[in-house]
Amino acid sequence: MIQVRELTKRYGAKTVVDHLSFTAKPGQVTGFLGPNGAGKSTTMRMIVGLDAPNSGDVLVNGKPYASSKAPLHEIGVLLEAKAVHPGRTAVSHLLALARTHGIPRSRVDEVLALAGLTAVAHKRVGAFSLGMGQRLGIAAALLGDPAVVMLDEPVNGLDPEGVLWVRNLLAGLAAEGRTVMLSSHLMSEVSLVADHLVIVGRGKLLADTTVADFVTAEGVRVVTAAPDALRTAIAAAGVTVTSTGAEELFVTGRSAREIGLAAATRGIPLFELTPQNASLEEAFMDLTRHAVEYEASR
């Protein structure tokens, strides 16, 4: 559990994090969203005590992080910058971190395998690609078998396979009852894995909500061999069905899951079943529009 309370950070005259409060709970993936420069990385650095807040405080698993007897067991972090000496091998890097806590060598090999880095374990990190560096950072975050895993833009630089791996990994960690928090400036990326959303802009909290609440799905596009039969199957109060083509329907008021189940029980073949929630990214943009720090001039 991470409890952020009235956290404020100023660099000179600029307030980068402004009375920010939120809680990331165990068993959930919390997505930490905001445009560039919103203060996400700064907040994450304050959570593990790397930067000192001007006011407010943070509790990790109910206590201040610095007072922990086994910090790596409380929280594992991946911070944005590639925080590794390029001259060290992946194994030496992890081993150096592990030794502080008396974590055995076998655990180092375990997280290397988990991150798919076994083959390059003895290569110098300086030769790693961005994605491999990111995997090493995630391996380091998992080293202490932490109750909280906090990752700053974990999928940065990862290939599609890597993105999927991170997504499954995070969902798995949350299912084990751990607190998982990840930052991103892409709503589409976070909505696939997060349960809980914390959205910030210019250091201020803009929304603290669930993905389900935030996602105002416009509807579901269905392509089926029997549009009329499907219409009847899903008809109910509050459900609208519009025909958009010979075999195409657009449904609101029913989830893709409900439509799929209804079709299956009646043996109606479906060719396509697509939730149309383009509004997700739009809603995020709307919300953060007035809080964008660095905007392309036009």
Binding site: A70, H101, G102
Partner: protein, 249 residues
Amino acid sequence: MKITPGGVVAAEWTKFSSLRSTWITTGISVLLLIAFGVIASASFSGDSLSAVDLALSGSILAALTVGVLGALLGASEYTTGMIRATLAAVPRRLPVLWSKSLVAGLAALVVMTAGAFGAFALGSAVLNDGVAALGLGDDGVLRTLFGAGLYLGLVAVLGVALGMLVRSSAGAIAILAGVLLILPGLVALLPDSISDPVGPYLPSNAGNAVMTLTQADGSLAPWTGLAVFAGYVVVALAAAAYRLKKTDA
């Protein structure tokens, strides 16, 4: 699983020993110490310098490379961003500085003490006929050789402290070279009324006192000199500790 002081020292040893630059810089330091000692021992004749002083004539340059070793170790935490991972694992922070200093200091002490004895042994073997030979049993020889190891160990700690303090390799090395090499030369240019009382207390002059057999006029007593140098190291460590504890990583 928890943080222990021994664990943090082990971690710092892992960091220290897993870098190629560590071995290269250490190797160069020993090589300089021995090579200068052998060359000076073979070529110098006269009675202004003793056999052990000739054997240690590389110690001034070795001090610079050993200091660079420490400075790189300290500053690279910041130049590579590793400090964030380091401090996230050890959020109380200061144990990192103490452990890093201990590892660099002890490693330099052990290797450079061995180097000093090696330089003395090899230097004695090729000693110029014009210089009186000395043995380990002669007055002050052991003190001088162990003194060199102790001084060079402390220089490594000074390097670590400067590296952690200024957070830049180039900056730390420049300060180190300035303090150890340039400052004594500058002070020597000042009028005698200033340079005579101040000179012996300069870091490298104070440190030299413990690793020279033939003391220069006005030099501090050997162990006083080492204590004064250790004082400078403590001040640098305190400044590094203050910055480490008080500022954002």
